[in-house]
């Protein structure tokens, strides 16, 4: 037997270390469709709790939208379940091409290629378009999938301080001798909820002849007046060379992602990106659902407008209650608690009050910056937000952190 006791014990020891470090991840089983109101089994084997979901990426409330579900059913009937092939052999249907065209139009780019996920898009895009003669310069807080993609690419890589344009400019000067330069950022940063200064970044990239890649997974569908993304918010549509994004969050929330941008770069991905070449693409049933999502969003901005109003209401309520928030204007609203244990205790107490929100701490966020991250949805009604505010305030009082400064909270609970 290859999996000897010695090998098993080695893994058991490692798992215990993860548990002892307090970073063991445990799944909570949801027994209902994804929505603002969900039924959760937690811990495993416990009875179902009805809770308000404050931690889904379901920004537009489309995950279980009846029209999207109906379109998926129709797509399943019309185009079948699976493709049993990668795209370039016999795994491409007309609807894959149709979705690529719709995404191109929605994002205001030149062309689009689908990937099984945005994780795959980010894993594949860099090595498809860059070589050892090039350099990638990324914001220090980019998503883990970008970091993985950069690691898979032979180009040199460097980083700049989060959203620090002076530091970025220094790095662009430092790497002026490279054949190609690519600046890489998230559009909306998922842990802090702030946005990249894309207008300034576009200017710097033009000045130093660098390409710009933006992962807009936490923006596509709702950031910008028409929900086109962070590039719309900053008035630079058509000037981003590559946008990667996901259909697994606001755009229906099922799965799938894409690379959208300059047609030559998209073509390079079609020829060379390994997750595209060696994996089936998005299943027809999901493509059909996303197509309906794109139609809904192209017809009206009602859902992103409601989301914006909800997020503003939520931020205002928490601020008035006396919580310390990360500043921003996106539906990602982090409530700063600074201490890791406090964030875990706070999350557990929220759950007892019927509110599902998760505490994050090092290494997911920097040390001393533990927080509860809340994510607002167009699927939330005011009564959801009011009930959540009531629960947050009650628990905030319990721990005596309302109206306190950062230093006062740290003095009491530690970093």
């Amino acid at each position: 037997m290859a999996f000897s006791n010695k090998v098993r014990e080695s893994y058991q020891k490692e798992i215990k270390e993860i548990q002892d470090a307090g970073i063991f991840k445990e799944e909570r089983f949801i027994h209902s469709p994804q929505a603002a109101d969900i039924e959760v089994e937690f811990p495993k084997g416990a009875g179902l709790s009805k809770v308000i979901n404050m931690c889904a990426n379901n920004y537009l409330g489309l995950s279980s939208h009846p029209e999207v579900v109906k379109a998926a059913h129709e797509g399943l009937d019309a185009r079948g379940y699976g493709m049993s092939s990668v795209r370039f052999i016999c795994g491409t249907q007309d609807i894959h091409n149709e979705l690529e065209n719709k995404v191109t139009e929605f994002l205001g780019t030149e062309d689009t290629i689908l990937f099984p996920s945005c994780m795959d898009a980010n894993a594949g895009v860099f090595e498809a378009v860059l070589t050892t003669d090039d350099v990638m310069i990324s914001d220090r807080l980019v998503h883990a999938s970008i970091i993985d993609g950069i690691r898979l690419c032979s180009a040199e890589h460097d980083t700049f301080k989060h959203s620090n344009m002076e530091h970025l400019e220094k790095k662009l000067q430092l790497h002026a001798d490279k054949r190609m330069k690519m600046v890489i950022t998230d559009g909306v940063f998922s842990m802090d909820g702030d946005t990249a200064k894309l207008d300034e970044m576009v200017q710097l990239c033009e000045k130093y002849d660098a390409m710009l890649l933006v992962d807009d997974s936490h923006a596509s569908g709702f950031i910008g007046k028409r929900g086109r993304g962070t590039h719309e918010k900053y008035g630079v549509m058509g000037k981003i060379d590559i946008i990667t994004t996901t259909f697994g969050k606001a755009l229906g929330g099922a799965s799938g992602g894409c690379v959208s941008g300059r047609k030559e770069l998209v073509e390079m991905c079609r020829q060379k990106a390994r997750p595209y070449l060696f994996s089936n693409t998005i299943a027809p049933v999901v493509v059909s659902g996303v197509l309906r999502v794109m139609d809904i969003l192209s017809q009206s901005t009602e859902r992103r407008d409601k989301l914006e109003a909800n997020a503003e209401y939520w931020r205002k309520g928490l601020t008035e209650a006396g919580f310390i928030l990360k500043e921003g204007d996106t539906p990602i609203v982090p409530i700063m608690l600074f201490n890791a244990k406090l964030s875990q205790d706070f999350s557990r107490d929220l759950y007892s009050e019927g509110i599902y929100a998760i505490g994050f701490f090092f290494p997911v966020v920097p040390k001393g910056q533990a927080r509860i991250r809340t994510q607002i949805s167009a699927g939330h009604e005011r009564h959801h937000l009011d009930k959540a505010l009531e629960a947050f305030t009650k628990i905030g009082k319990k721990y005596d952190i309302l109206g306190k400064t950062k230093q006062e909270v740290i003095d009491r609970y530690g970093m």
Partner: protein, 80 residues
């Protein structure tokens, strides 16, 4: 503090610390302390190689070897 310690400390402060961060010293854990992530370590390695005209093999450029300014100095001295 010798010249090498001073120069590396200054570079780390300039390159990695944000305004609100606490001051660091030659024995402050940089990577295990969450100040420098292992991914951003690359620019530090490049700085050292250019500054001292050396080449640090990847297998030597471990997060442990880069964890404090003192350890970095010790590593650099191996290759000067």
């Amino acid at each position: 503090m010798d010249d090498m310690q001073k120069m590396i400390l200054e570079y780390v402060e300039e390159e990695y610390l944000e305004d609100e961060d606490e001051a660091i010293d030659v024995d402050t854990p940089l990577i295990s302390g969450g100040i420098v992530d292992s991914f951003s370590m690359v620019s530090l390695k490049r700085f050292l190689e250019n500054k001292y005209n050396i080449s640090i093999p990847d297998e030597k450029a471990t997060p442990e070897a880069f964890d404090t300014v003192d350890k970095i100095c010790a590593l650099v001295k191996e290759f000067i």
